[in-house]
């Protein structure tokens, strides 16, 4: 039997444990895909979780989305005015919010609100032996807790994103309306005029990926929590940090990939 003191490290201790963590997380994600497609599906629990996620973040998304739309329009106005191009404002805002701001802001808010609460909830179930209690009653805790939550975030966050886009555009409309007395219909027509199908498609894909990331990271950190109550706090904290980091990374990658498509 190998003793830890004498165990040879592949690189250094830190790099080794980082790599082990990475492969664990990968195995966790693979397990999700294996279990997600086998019955039982716990549909009711997925719906419950989706509602909870939606309700938890709705108010914050409403406020943030609205303010971002409003402020962004206000700030962009002077630079367009210099060119006498304020009539382009709606389409500029439309592109910015639909392509980038809507999905990103939603994902960041949800990483904070939803990711941390998933991490804390599953983490506390782990350290108080509730997950083992499920196992001994022949209930698959991975399936009941993890798959349902990951599916819920993956489904709900795109919807919240869409909502954020609408609210953001509305905030922008308020500004445009007071400055130029534009009607709401013509504002939205203008806003969507330069948005292509590919933009909307990309935006949805991004939200789906962000939602999946938030769910998987939150569950993974919670499911592997140790060291009692301290571990629960750490799981919640790490869930937020790691998922935010991954969201930015994914944003960059997806935008790059989609730009290649655009040039075809």
């Amino acid at each position: 039997m190998s003793k830890p003191g004498s165990r040879p490290y592949l690189f250094t201790r830190t790099i080794d444990s980082f790599l082990t963590g990475l492969s664990d997380a990968f195995a966790f994600t693979v397990r999700f895909f294996k279990e997600a497609f086998l019955p039982p599906f716990h549909v009711r629990e997925i719906i419950n979780q989706s509602f909870e996620i939606g309700l938890k973040s709705l108010s914050l998304i409403t406020v943030t989305g609205f303010i971002i739309g409003l402020v962004f329009t206000k700030q962009s106005r002077p630079s367009l005015e210099d060119f006498g191009a304020t009539s382009w404002l709606p389409s500029l805002i439309g592109i910015a919010i639909i392509r980038a701001l809507g999905p990103l802001v939603t994902a960041l808010i949800c990483a904070g609100k939803v990711g941390s609460s998933i991490g804390a909830e599953i983490g506390s179930m782990k350290v108080t032996e509730q997950i083992e209690a499920m196992e001994v009653s022949a209930i698959n805790p991975f399936k009941y807790l993890v798959t349902t939550r990951v599916l819920a975030t993956t489904l709900t966050i795109p919807i919240l994103s869409l909502y954020c886009v609408c609210v953001g555009l509305y905030g922008s409309y308020i500004n445009v309306h007071f400055e130029e007395a534009t009607g709401i219909i013509s504002f939205y027509q203008n806003a969507f005029s330069s948005v292509s199908f590919l933009d909307i498609y990309t935006s949805v894909i991004k939200s789906v990926v962000f939602g999946f990331t938030i769910g998987v990271v939150g569950c993974y950190k919670g499911y592997n929590a140790t060291q009692g109550t301290r571990g629960v706090g750490m799981a919640a904290n790490k869930a937020v940090i790691v998922s935010m980091f991954l969201i930015f990374l994914e944003e960059m990658v997806i935008v790059q990939v989609m730009n290649w498509f655009r040039h075809f």
């Binding site: 039997m1 830890p4 179930m125 509730q130 083992e132 209690a133 001994v136 009653s137 022949a138 209930i139």
Partner: protein, 258 residues
Amino acid sequence: MIKEGSHQINREESVISITGLEKSFDELEVLKGVDFTLYRGENVAVLGKSGTGKSVLIKIIVGLLKPDAGEVLVLGRQVDKLKGRELDALRLRVGFSFQSSALYDSMDVYQNLAFPLTMNKKNLTKAEVDHEVKEALDAVGLASKINEMPSDLSGGQRKRIGIARTLILKPEIILYDEPTSGLDPVTSGEINDLIREVQERYNTSSVVITHDLTCAKHTGDRVAMLLEGRFSKVGSFESVFASEDEQIKSFYNYNFTT
């Protein structure tokens, strides 16, 4: 063989049979060759100091932990070789009552009990589930708490709800992890009675882990003493504590003289 109660012990049929069980965590050797047999209908009280691996032992019995060496047969099946459906099927026959109660704190008492039942028996009607929940709560004397949240219960009540949640699946074997720790003598006494009652009413075999000699004496048909990773003494309460072994004697003295 028939004891003073109404329960019957069948010494021909073992429900748990462990030979040469070893388990370590990194460099910490916890179990170093445990041999143990539990017969049908029998209660065995497992005694031992804190940190000797009592919880580890029963977690191995339900397959929550894997043994490093040795053979663990539960109801004729080798637990560490089972997976998926087969393991689940075995776990339904083995109840596990956690040291920490481990109630689901997002669910009320009713849901805590109904959850394992509805997840495992899909075709039960609502009325049948209600009936089972009520029966299990009656068995532990807490029917009035049916709609409370676990956080609103006392430690002793949580323990009893934990036991009720174990009973609801009608297991053949029950593993109790320190059912009376941290409780006052009266509540402990009630739980001891409850363990005996369950044994008689449902005809179960049990392992009762405890530090508490009153509990061991009251609930155990036999007593097993876990010392340094092995069962050093197994037998009737009197025979184990008649031993001249220093550690066993000090265990006895601490319990009854402080």
